[in-house]
Point group: C3
Chain length 204, copies 3
Amino acid sequence: MTIIYLTDLVGTGVFAISGTLAALNKKKDHDLITLFFFGFITATGGGTLRDVVIDAHPVVWISDANYLIVIVLSVIVAILCRRWWLGILQSPLLVFDTLGIGIYTIFGLKKALMMGVNTWAAILLGVVSALFGGVIRDTLANDVPLLFERQLYVTPCVTGALVYVLALTLHLDPTINFLLSAGIITGFRLLAVKKNWSLPPIRV
Amino acid sequence: MTIIYLTDLVGTGVFAISGTLAALNKKKDHDLITLFFFGFITATGGGTLRDVVIDAHPVVWISDANYLIVIVLSVIVAILCRRWWLGILQSPLLVFDTLGIGIYTIFGLKKALMMGVNTWAAILLGVVSALFGGVIRDTLANDVPLLFERQLYVTPCVTGALVYVLALTLHLDPTINFLLSAGIITGFRLLAVKKNWSLPPIRV
Amino acid sequence: MTIIYLTDLVGTGVFAISGTLAALNKKKDHDLITLFFFGFITATGGGTLRDVVIDAHPVVWISDANYLIVIVLSVIVAILCRRWWLGILQSPLLVFDTLGIGIYTIFGLKKALMMGVNTWAAILLGVVSALFGGVIRDTLANDVPLLFERQLYVTPCVTGALVYVLALTLHLDPTINFLLSAGIITGFRLLAVKKNWSLPPIRV
């Protein structure tokens, strides 16, 4: 069991928790099954989309039952702790989501590069891995995805991805590079939310 | 022409009818082409998603023109009979949809198992085969999919799928197993709708 | 660099412009990144869906960075010219979209036929190539896609695709056939919008 495999399982669990909390936070009527689907789609949607587009079969959760087990357990933990986590100013929802985004962007970028994808498409696919689970979840729930709001959401991911690619050419140690670039994404995103940063608007 | 092939064509037709009636039932403005797309997406969406995710190419309706022919004919039948079917308390819409769900859950589960998917992912993919045609249709039409309402919709599918997997380990005759487990799904779902059953709510 | 490759790049750019203008036209709040995603999804969504469904890997924008470069440049051009283009009665938005639809329907149809897809599914996949970038974009933006409005949108595409298939059996010169059938789609669609044509409604 390598560190990469563990990181992927942790990222999956973190995103399943964030998806469950996001669904609960909307205050709609949910049961165990609907919450599982929101957690499952948030955790697997982006990575599955990436793997299908780059033809990286088998998709992990299909060949390895551990991913589904982690998702089921994470959804249950999120449900049990929901009052505690959502009560204190929704910050855990943000923290889980932001941690997941940092891990998955770099993870998806690495996987795409390993499959021989060109660097620019690989950066885009890193962003897709990280954000499209949430995009699919929001679209199914009939919300406009956060991706299309004028927040700094994609920009931190692209920044971290560029750092990763640059450090790769400089032969930085892979683990340090992963921690550094994923950390930049998470830190940048948290700062952007706290400071309410945004890019300049473009209007007609 | 095997019984499995025939079952798949019948399931396709049944779902195309249910998709067309569902679109008409929303009372929006439709023409022959928009209704065909609703029927087509309902009939093929779940199975196509399953095949793309498990890399089971070619997707059936691409290699075999009979599926599209069945869909076109079913949409036309649904349109011709629409007043008769939708007038009498919308029960045919429910019956067609529920029959399709029973058939497709087990069909999708079987196909995933044959492709070497782990049992838990195979059960999930059976549910996806059966329900995601409708989910994609509802999402495109800007409705919240039934899947995310607090109805018993996934639960009957999972129950029937578990029965199928259990009976498989007991070496039950495949045809009997198919009829039994698909019948459990259809019966359970019809009862749940009639009795208005639901799982306990989870709220914050 | 063949004429087909150039046509594909031009179609990609035209669709990226149409997607950016469509997003701006909704008057929502946008920045450079959100507009890029709308342009990217409009330009690549339909073709990526087609390639994933028919298993035609690698998807073009993954193996060839030129597609992403064309998209980025087109989005920037669309942003710079937005007041000029959207001010004069929105006709450039319509023209770009309609040109893209003509090019992509025939391009998608050709590619599907080359992959051995049956003729009817190939026609459907041509339509999907041309229209589903916009469908995905509209669905993500929480609008009902134009495809499901009672406009003549699919009908011109199917008409041009049928002409292409017919002329193929008559051994018409490929380039002339491409220009003829794509031209029929664009002309028919523009006429339909101008004259407000529609198919007869089907109501319950």
